[in-house]
């Protein structure tokens, strides 16, 4: 009886979480320029529009480019950092790790303002490169956490075994450590990619008026009135996030990635 009540609670909460998204998915199907729910004369017209209307394809392309490259930068910084912290320890690596986790723990406005004044000082304010680098640093936290988790799971005996079989330090890293950490690197990239796509305040402060991303475009459009195309973007973003995390869940161990020790490997 109580167990059923518990399941009901979980179900109700999940329904509440889904509700706004369901409504938004509904309005994205409106045939006209209205935001009605249930949708009126449903069509997929606005989905085509997102990929056709010039004022939306620009932000779409910006967002994809920024997320792709920024996530790459985040991994490029996080991977050596995670390896360093894992392999060496010491106060310096702990300090570096804290520095890597910090951008994500602070209210994003602070980080965004920091980047704003930095790029202004450098004369790169308003450039896409500034947005990409800012996102790259801001999102270092995610691959840093996932890769560190993966490295900690490596049995130290594997490294010693490789050494006894003649592998130099570089060979051990290349043939043992990196292959074992690869799934966690990929998860870290995926997390960073999805979050970069959704990030608003940093992109806005650093280059909001010149490099419009999809979140900025939506927010700007909110002022002039809602159109179903915003619903389309929301639906696509949710679908993309669910696909990425779903893939991690299917191919990896999501509960363990999120900190549950007790959930076994298979």
């Amino acid at each position: 009886m109580t167990a059923r009540l518990g399941r009901l609670y979980v179900a109700v909460i999940l329904l509440l979480l889904a509700l706004p998204l369901l409504v938004v998915a509904g309005i994205s199907l409106n045939g006209g320029q209205t935001l009605r729910f249930p949708p009126q004369d449903p069509s997929l017209r606005w989905y085509a529009e997102l990929f056709r209307a010039a004022d939306w394809t620009g932000p779409l392309r910006n967002s994809l480019v920024i997320a792709t490259v920024a996530a790459l930068i985040a991994v490029a910084v996080a991977l050596p950092l995670a390896l360093h912290v894992w392999g060496r320890g010491g106060w310096l690596s702990r300090a570096l790790y804290t520095l890597g986790v910090a951008p994500f723990m602070l209210p994003p406005v602070i980080t965004a303002l920091g980047f704003l004044v930095f790029w202004v000082a450098l004369g790169m304010y308003g450039r896409m490169g500034a947005t990409i680098l800012s996102h790259g640093i801001f999102l270092v936290t995610l691959p840093l956490v996932t890769i560190s988790l993966g490295l900690r799971a490596i049995d130290p005996a594997l490294l010693e075994a490789a050494r006894t079989m003649g592998a130099t330090r570089g060979q051990v890293l290349r043939t043992v450590v990196l292959p074992l950490a690869l799934p966690y690197v990929v998860s870290g990239y995926a997390f960073a990619f999805v979050l970069s796509l959704n990030e608003y305040i940093i992109a806005y402060m650093v280059a909001g008026f010149t490099v419009e991303t999809l979140p900025i475009k939506i927010f700007n459009s909110l002022r002039y009135g809602y159109t179903p195309i915003m619903g389309v973007v929301a639906v696509l973003f949710v679908a993309l996030a669910a696909a990425v995390y779903g893939a991690i869940g299917v191919f990896g161990n999501l509960p363990r990635l999120l900190g549950a020790d007790r959930v076994g490997d298979r």
């Binding site: 049995d155 010693e160 006894t164 079989m165 043992v176």
Partner: protein, 350 residues
């Protein structure tokens, strides 16, 4: 095989490893001829694994020198020693196939794909796992993984083959089977092999030479039966097999006094202590029941099928006697009996 014997002699000179104030390995000096199967035996924490890791170069000694075939290895990094090692956890690479695991040392040495595959198949045949080259590690049973680890350790014809409690994860039956097989493989290849174990039966089954360690020091080194029959001290006597240890006093070279009773020693008995307070060590199979002997009381009778164990109490000391079922004395719990020790089975230790 003969060639290996001379070229891969192992010698240690005053090898010491300190962790902070404690010496895990304390001034160990050993000369071991090549081509032998050596078991490093001792209780947990006796320093045997540390000694193995020093040999592998995974730890650096605080003092002393390690030579293999006359060449100083003390400061040679692990990856240039050309040894093979099997870890307690086996340390098989989960991201590589069975064949890739076995051929890993060859890949590091730049062998071609075809060479690696051929060698892997050869080694898998040797450990009786033919046709498993392309399997994943997680598809194997515990015993199969064990064999893969052994094959991998042997891949480069190592100068020294080191194994750290290699069979501890296997269940009892499989373990005994693997002990015999490991010994057979070693005999065939003639590789100098050093196995760390805490299981004295395992050591007696496999070894040419047993090295017993306690508290970082070598207590005794010798052939298994030598160590069993003729323990150097009370620790070895108690650790290898079961020994009954009794406090005694050695009056002269041929007379022993045990709790007020005088025993005449036989020339076949081994006296390793000067006259004075000593420890008498007797194996359970050398304990006899004799009405004329030391007074004792039966506290437990254990019928094990192949043998009968009778536990006796002699003035607060527990004595275990072992009989074959045919020789089983007719005694019951609580019976007062006399206790005697077979001539030649008595070892007098300091």
């Amino acid at each position: 095989m003969q060639a290996n014997m001379t070229s891969n002699d192992l010698s240690l000179h005053g090898v010491t490893k300190r962790f902070g104030a404690t010496a895990a390995v304390d001034d160990v000096t050993l000369q071991i001829p090549g081509g032998r199967f050596i078991c490093l035996l001792g209780p947990s924490g006796c320093g045997k694994t540390t000694l193995l890791r020093l040999l592998a170069g995974l730890e650096a000694p605080t003092a002393g020198r390690i030579l293999v075939g006359g060449a100083d290895q003390t400061h040679v990094p692990t990856h240039r020693r050309d040894f093979g090692m099997v870890f307690q956890s086996l340390a098989l690479f989960p991201h590589l196939s069975v064949g890739e695991n076995v051929a890993y040392p060859l890949r590091i040495r730049g062998a071609t794909r075809a060479q690696r595959r051929a060698r892997a198949e050869e080694l898998l045949d040797l450990v009786r796992l033919p046709g498993l080259t392309d399997r994943r590690i997680h598809q194997l049973s515990g015993g199969q993984r064990q064999r893969v680890a052994i094959a991998r350790g042997l891949a480069i014809d190592p100068k020294l083959f080191l194994l750290d409690e290699p069979l501890s994860a296997l269940d009892a039956n499989l373990r005994e089977h693997m002990q015999i097989e490991l010994r057979q493989i070693q005999s065939r290849l003639g590789v100098t092999t050093l196995v760390v174990t805490h299981d004295q039966k395992e050591a007696l089954t496999m070894a040419d030479i047993v090295i017993v360690m306690d508290r970082g020091r070598v207590q005794q080194m010798g052939a298994p039966m030598e160590v069993y029959r003729d323990p150097a001290n009370a620790f070895v006597a108690g650790f290898i097999g079961t020994s009954n240890l009794l406090p005694a006093r050695l009056l002269d070279a041929a007379t022993l006094e045990v709790s007020g009773h005088r025993l005449a020693l036989d020339p076949a008995d081994r006296v390793k202590a000067p006259p004075g307070p000593v420890t008498l060590s007797v194996r359970p199979e050398d304990v006899r029941l004799d009405p004329e002997g030391l007074p004792a009381r039966v506290t437990f009778v254990r019928d094990l099928g192949e043998s009968v164990q009778i536990v006796l109490d002699h003035q607060g000391h527990e004595i275990i006697a072992l009989f074959s079922p045919r020789e089983r004395p007719q005694v019951n719990l609580g019976d007062a009996v006399g206790l005697a020790f077979a001539p030649g089975g008595r070892v007098v230790l300091p």
